[in-house]
């Protein structure tokens, strides 16, 4: 972690929200909405060799002046009033460096002194089993340390915990394990945090690749019910601001010559 300004900002007592690079990039899209709506300033970069490099101009520009700020592949934004810090990851993790990325992440989380960490992720919708096909497509997971604190609250909200899948589906009583296909580092990071006794919550949604903007909205509204980042108006849902970097998601304008 390298800070933008002089001196390292302190994240003690903050909540960290970060995405897992997963199916449809839903976690990353949801975080774009948070950063853009709450106008969070950038406080640092995660300068690591584990992610593919990328650069571009400010994706959350509100006017021409701040449009020329450079953005890199992993950046940290913070909101001190809400005691919120957000890590946005914009590129895939290099295949051979997945383990070392997880290790650096876990050690950074530990060094920050956070209250809790939330991982936003997604899983392949086509891999759901019979139980998962019914009802809501949103799931959660809590590490044991967070279970004690937030377990009841999450129950009250009516959230569904991610089901464990049998290792051998047709054999009854076979070992149950966690299976998050398409979730990227989600399962591994969750298991790491359980072993390291870090308070982490995973919020995930079942989806498929395609136009995942709707899935991002679903996930973020779901998260907002718990974390209360923005107040919900009595009529309708929270107005999240769509960042300008979401334009042209499916290519340039159409050439008039084809008509």
């Amino acid at each position: 972690f390298i800070s933008t300004g002089s001196g390292d900002p302190s994240f003690k007592g903050f909540t960290l929200i970060m995405p897992a690079v997963s199916v449809g990039n839903v976690g990353q899209l949801a975080l774009d909405l948070i950063i853009s709506t709450l106008n969070m300033p950038k406080v640092g970069y995660l300068h690591t060799d584990c992610l593919i490099p990328m650069a571009g101009n400010n994706p959350y520009a509100t006017s021409a002046e701040d449009a020329s700020q450079l953005s890199t592949n992993a950046e940290v934004y913070s909101h001190s009033d809400l005691k919120l810090v957000v890590l946005q990851i914009r590129t895939p993790i290099i295949q051979t460096k997945v383990r070392s990325f997880r290790k650096s992440l876990v050690s950074w989380i530990k060094s920050c002194g956070l209250v809790k960490t939330v991982l936003l992720s997604s899983s392949h919708a086509y891999q759901r089993d019979d139980r998962q096909l019914l009802g809501t497509s949103l799931r959660y997971l809590l590490t044991p340390s967070l279970q004690k604190v937030e377990g009841q609250r999450v129950e009250e909200l009516g959230w569904r915990e991610m089901e464990r899948i049998s290792v051998f589906p047709d054999i009854p009583d076979s070992e149950q394990r966690l299976y998050i296909p398409g979730g990227g580092v989600t399962k591994a990071l969750y298991t790491d945090c359980c072993t390291e006794d870090i308070s982490m919550a995973v919020a995930l949604i079942f989806c498929s690749e395609g136009d995942n903007i709707a899935d991002a909205f679903m996930l973020i509204n779901h998260l907002n019910d718990w974390l209360r980042l923005l107040e919900k108006p009595t009529q309708g849902s929270v107005q999240w601001r769509v960042p300008p970097s979401w334009s042209l998601l499916f290519g340039s304008g159409i050439p008039p010559l084809i008509f």
Binding site: V23, H47, P53, A55, N58, A61, N73, L248, S252
Partner: protein, 279 residues
């Protein structure tokens, strides 16, 4: 994912599939093989003469990546003379021609990353990169190359190619405006920029992104000029577009504004229609 026309596309999901085997069977031999591969793929900066192994003082570093950018630097800048090769970046990946890394200086004509220094003004350096740098080597490349020059008073300029298809704009671009330049600069860069900045939602990837990210994080003034062209092979019209990028540096870098056709022919390639089914 099914498209509107009913065809089923196999979509590449950017999610990395978890490798359960990764954690289970990690024995000594696997570790050893992994270390050897990492060692083989490591990036090293090598110097021609033994004396230059410490940090070189540099005020301007120009990096050229891509066939047109490197063709431009060779035809318009290096051809003026006054540049000497002082080092190279040695690396190996699956696309390198040799089966293992060679630590000897690269032969001209072979893909390589060569470092040049201006003879009468040794603080101006240029890196011409014609070889392929793999994804996992990009970060290391930027660290090593920028690590061997002193950061103080350094300005980095990167010239890189891109295909026009990667450029997204809300109104369709007709053929008349290509090739064109777009720029991206770090927060500490205060110099003039010779073209409009790259609009959202466009991004840059690859070596130019790795260098720019490194400079942004370490607060080194840097600017990337990305040339979007609809021609995939080295071509003189595309190369000429880069002239605007170096005009700002004309005090430091001498440029041959109109190279002769002999010089240009060495670096361009006319695309020949390969034999197809119909001829």
């Amino acid at each position: 994912m099914a498209t509107f026309f009913g065809e089923v596309l196999s979509v590449y999901s950017r999610a990395v599939e978890e490798d359960d085997d990764d954690d289970l069977t990690q024995n000594e031999e696997d570790e050893q093989i992994r270390r050897e591969i990492e060692e083989k793929r490591s990036v090293r900066v090598q110097w021609m003469s033994q004396t230059d192994t410490r940090s070189v003082s540099c005020s301007h570093l120009i990096i050229a990546v891509g066939l047109n950018a490197t063709g431009f630097t060779s035809a318009y800048v290096l051809s003026c003379g006054g540049w000497s090769a002082v080092g190279w970046v040695s690396l190996w990946n699956e696309r390198s021609h040799s089966s293992s890394r060679t630590d000897s200086a690269p032969v001209p004509g072979q893909p390589a990353c060569v470092l040049y220094q201006q003879e009468h003004n040794p603080s101006v350096m240029m890196c011409v990169c014609t070889c392929y740098v793999a994804e996992d080597q990009l970060f290391q490349w930027a660290e090593k190359v920028l690590g061997c020059v002193q950061k103080r008073a350094l300005t980095v300029t990167v010239l890189s190619d891109c295909v026009l298809a990667e450029y997204k704009a809300s109104d369709y671009l007709s053929g008349n405006s290509t090739p064109f330049l777009r720029a991206l600069k770090t927060a500490t860069y205060t110099g003039a920029v010779a073209c409009p900045l790259l609009e959202q939602p466009n991004i840059i990837t690859g070596l130019s992104a790795a260098v720019l990210s490194h400079c942004q994080v370490h607060q080194i003034p840097a600017v990337v000029y990305q040339c979007y062209s609809d021609v995939t092979h080295p071509d003189s019209v595309t190369m000429e577009t880069y002239k605007a990028a170096l005009t700002g540096l004309s005090a430091a870098v001498k440029m041959n504004r109109c190279p002769t056709s002999e010089i240009l022919q060495k670096f361009t390639r006319v695309s020949e229609v390969q034999s197809n089914l119909y001829t």
